[in-house]
Symmetry: C2
Subunit: 493 residues, 2 copies
């Protein structure tokens, strides 16, 4: 069932994976514990590792092995066939861009990120504009080299969400927009003050509580740990090493608590990948939209509910006495607060996807050449007013708020919304397929849900493209209506 070329590809793939996992350890340390003066040499170490990995993957022999493996005639349904497909995608993406362009793009990104930090601090788009213009220009060059069928945007999102296109995303987001704007109009009558849950929540109590909840969800602390960083993330340092970070706000326990639930969802996905496939595509996470579905599912569908607070109220009060001032229902109400605001990362469940829609429209227009970078702030502010009914006060709270474009990541934003849609759709399917799931969750019996996700999502790695994975798990590719129904049920009942 195997060809020699396939085995060589697999060995090379494992070696590259090992190098990248080494880099992941260095990056984790970079984000958590590195002393400030050590940063420049760490950058050298990381560049070296990435260059080695890139070189190992783009050597001519890899192209020869790929051709040979493609001609071998693996069963199209086989894991081998899927791995060859994924190697081919990655190989073509990596080899079609000349080294000069790769280097120019890296230099541009580095400078752009610095400029963005400055521009955002001063809320002056003009400081960032020339850098973003350069990024868009170079990105358009790359896109032409990669190739695409319809929109140049498709070649970008393919990096994050293999197989999906702008044409497929548009109607889904439009359907969502109509429903969300409508829903928002109905909810705004019952506001909860922003400071509703504010209190004094000592950090060790927050840690004890969120550790218990992460463990209850199924996070394996013998294969992970939780550290503190300014920007929370989940990362994988090896097959049994999925780490989480969070940040604590002593007045607002929910910042860290829901952050940990979110990152736990990501880590549970990684902990559910097949450890006998380490270093192969079939042992790797398939896409950002699927990854985000796992974080959103645990954070919002499991954690941001009245049932959750009925169950965890007593434990939470034990670790954080100030929580005792609220009933479970009040806690649920507080963490489900809906209020349009300017900043995406602070957005609630209902308005969140409107932020994404806006970004998707902007970057699509930029990459298709329909919008000039210099016109971006005005276009952003106009559209923001249409969607949210609010006037953007400055660029820091407008087109400058996100880091993504400064990093050269265009085509990334829609995966957040795809994650939300997939979460609702998977949860709907899980409720149909697991007898008594709502009761199990209400009792804190999270194992059946996790097993279902392991079986239907995690264990497949990249064997199926995201759309097929969703189809196999839920009977349909990604739809908007499950999320719309979920939000309506949750916020209008």
């Amino acid at each position: 069932m195997s060809s020699a070329a396939y085995l060589q590809l697999a060995e090379r793939s494992r070696e590259i994976h090992l190098l990248r996992s080494v880099a992941a350890v260095l990056s984790w340390d970079f984000e958590t514990y590195i002393p400030s003066k050590a940063v420049p040499y760490r950058a050298d170490q990381l560049s070296y590792l990435e260059a080695k990995a890139h070189k190992l993957f783009t050597e001519a022999c890899v192209g020869d092995w790929l051709k040979s493996a493609e001609q071998f005639g693996f069963d199209p349904e086989s894991e081998e066939s899927a791995n060859v497909r994924e190697w081919r995608r990655a190989y073509d993406r990596a080899t079609r861009i000349p080294v000069d362009l790769v280097e120019e793009f890296e230099r541009t990104r580095t400078i752009a990120r610095e400029a963005w930090v400055q521009a955002r601090a001063e809320s002056k788009f003009s400081l960032f504009e020339p850098h973003l213009r350069k990024i868009v220009e170079l990105t358009r060059q790359k896109v032409e080299l990669w190739g695409y069928k319809e929109s140049p945007y498709d070649a970008l999102i393919d990096d994050y969400e293999p197989g999906i296109t702008a044409r497929q995303i548009k109607p889904v987001l439009e359907q969502l927009r109509v429903a969300l704007v409508n829903l928002l109009g109905q909810i705004q009558n019952k506001p909860v003050p922003e400071t509703f849950l504010d209190g004094h929540y000592p950090i060790d109590g927050q840690q004890a509580l969120s550790n218990k909840i992460a463990a209850a969800f199924g996070y394996d602390f013998a294969a992970g740990r939780i550290d503190t960083t300014m920007h929370p993330f989940a990362t994988t340092l090896g097959p049994f090493d999925q780490r989480i970070t969070t940040r604590y706000n002593i007045r607002r326990f929910e910042v860290s608590l829901y952050g940990v639930m979110h990152e736990t969802g990501h880590a549970l996905y990684e902990q559910g990948l097949r450890t006998d496939r380490v270093g192969l595509p079939s042992g790797d996470a398939v896409s950002l939209g699927i990854h985000e579905s796992q974080s959103r599912l645990w954070e919002n569908h499991v954690g941001r509910t009245p049932q959750f607070w009925h169950l965890w109220h007593a434990t939470a009060c034990k670790h954080l006495p100030d929580i005792a001032r609220y009933s479970p229902a009040e806690l649920a109400c507080g963490v489900q607060r809906i209020a349009p605001s300017f900043i995406r990362v602070e957005a609630d469940e209902v308005t969140y996807d409107l932020h994404i829609l806006l970004r998707f429209e902007m970057e699509l227009a930029l990459i298709e050449g329909r919008l000039k970078v210099s016109d971006l702030p005005e276009a952003w502010n106009t559209r923001f007013h249409e969607l949210f009914g609010l006037i953007v006060p400055d660029d820091a709270r407008g087109a400058l708020q996100d880091i993504h474009w400064s990093l050269g990541s265009l085509g990334y934003f829609p995966t957040y919304t795809l994650g939300n849609l997939n979460a609702a759709q998977l949860m709907f399917a899980a409720e149909k397929q697991i007898a008594g799931l709502p009761d199990q969750l209400a009792q804190g019996n999270y194992a059946p849900l996790l097993s279902w996700l392991r079986e239907n999502v995690h264990q497949h790695g990249r064997k199926y493209l995201p759309a097929e994975l969703m189809y196999r798990a839920t009977g349909e590719p990604t739809q908007a209506r499950y999320r719309i129904d979920y939000l309506r049920n949750k916020y209008l009942s």
Copy 2:
């Protein structure tokens, strides 16, 4: 002044250094924060990196560059010449052992370490005996391949202390033995109880105090940090990244405090290496005996004194209120407690080197074939009684107590004593050369001492062999009498 071959060697040397610094990050994480299940893959990552580094260094082209650089005719006093000398030493050591023997030694070490853990736990030398026999046998094979002039032991210690021989060590240790046994007889009349300083010392207070002292010594926290591990160590992860670890005992502040001073000494050496020589021998620490001199100097000559406690008493009381029960003189008395005991790592300043003498005699006899492994415990116990006047109660407190031999590290122990001797000799020279040094130290003005060490020791890296480095700094190669005088002055006055 340069040859092309030299530049290629330098580039290769920097690349290997970078790979090993990457491994150092992974090892640091392994010791501090790794989740338990992540250990096996971490071992794979580390083996991969070490194999890559080894391969890069032992390629035939490196041998060619070396020959060419050696023939280029660098000034023998130049840095280039010293670097070529050090690359040659390392290259010959790395290439003279066939791969089969390297692998057999690695396998033997791994199994021996496991066996040693078990043997020590059960205090049964017989469990460790066959493994140690194998290690000695393979080490003798390696030694023959490396070559040596007089004793096979010389080829071993050369790895840790370049240039020194068993013939040089013997008379120094003998002189030390006579003086120490004599000194011990005079001190034992005034014992301090082992529990003299016991109290309640909260960990955050211990941390605050030892951080202040490390910073006062000159440790740059922007290029380092202190974490907690079972076995304390100092390690370098990059040119501006020298980290320390310690362990806290809530009843005994001195365990961590003097541990931190010790590791700070190591880290100060590494922080004093030339950052414009990163990856070259001239930018690397020269030997274990010099390294240990730096840790012992700060720990014992600076920290374990009445002057130190006069200066730090008030600060210590602030962070650790239980310390207020003691006067500065009593604190100094407590941390200078002398009492012969069975365990090397718990030994005081006077008996410590007797422990080393014993190990040196044993491993020298083993490697020269004058002692059979099966006879080791009896030889150990007999000699221990002669030196300490105590009867070893079991092997766990005798020949099984140290990990070194199970790791295949024979020839390592004398570097501890060399460190002690070098510390006393350097301190004597510093006092002669720095006007008012005792007053400066008494006032906490540590900068002049650190500057002197930077100039006379740290900045030279491996440019000089340890004996020449000591000669240049102090006017003599390593001698026993400075340490003997130091101990007599300190403990008989």
